[in-house]
Subunit: 156 residues, 2 copies
């Protein structure tokens, strides 16, 4: 047995017991902190790669259908445009499911957060500052904007 156990007349005092207890608790809490740090770093890396795989999987049908459309382009040239239209809809729907729906602000008041003015045109009908046409659609929402819509704005 170790020597310490045989030291006579040395019962640990209440204070000594409390110190040993606290030191033990402190060590365990510090170890928890360290484990948590390591675990969360792994979780963070994994969350990113899971997210990446899910999104890539969402795009696979688009890529597959582009490939099929090209394979049948020679035998069915008229079907190609129709096929591409479906693929485009599929791609826009995939972006919407990711939280980035397409938006077309034609007729709405210009909003510098969601719109990017590429030019202005005089208009007799429209209120100045109204979006006359969308050159390139925007994707997303005010909270999570992927890209503003490129628009033509009515001037006086």
């Amino acid at each position: 047995m170790p020597d310490e156990a045989e030291v006579p007349d040395e019962q640990p005092s209440a204070a000594e017991q409390r110190i040993a207890e606290l030191e033990d608790q402190l060590l365990r809490t510090a170890a928890d902190l360290d484990n948590l740090r390591k675990r969360y770093q792994r979780d963070l890396d994994r969350a990113r790669s899971v997210e990446r795989a899910q999104l890539a999987a969402a795009w696979l049908p688009v890529v597959d259908n582009l490939e099929l459309a090209l394979q049948h382009a020679d035998s069915d040239p008229d079907g190609l445009v129709k096929g591409i239209r479906v693929i485009h809809e599929q791609a826009v729907a995939a972006l919407a499911r990711l939280g980035f729906p397409a938006f077309d602000p034609t007729g709405q008041p210009f909003d510098p957060v969601l719109h990017e003015a590429v030019s202005t045109l005089p208009s007799e009908d429209a209120t100045p500052g109204t979006v006359l046409a969308v050159v390139r659609p925007g994707y997303g929402t005010a909270d999570a904007l992927l890209r503003p819509a490129s628009v033509v704005v009515a001037k006086r």
Copy 2:
């Protein structure tokens, strides 16, 4: 003031000082642990949405070009196939950048991890168990496989 502070002749002993010190350290470490938990949950959510936005942005050119190809389909029907071919290459390149390159195992030995046999065919030239043709390409690597390649395998 509390009574305790006025108890006379009671200088804290070394043990009492050590207990106070340890209790303080323990409280601070526990608070660190709690803060870390909260912070990492936020980080995790943010990492996911940053990843999502980056991937969605990688796909925007594909969607834009599909739209442009459709707009010019009437005026330039011959250009459409060429345009779609470029868009398909762009989409495959986007998947490769995400860590999921396309692969075509024609001529390689069948690998149940990376390939999915859709049929077998007799072949005079090929070694049995060799991939004769790829029906649908695979995407990814052995470590991060998005989809196995669908293949036709040589039988005896």
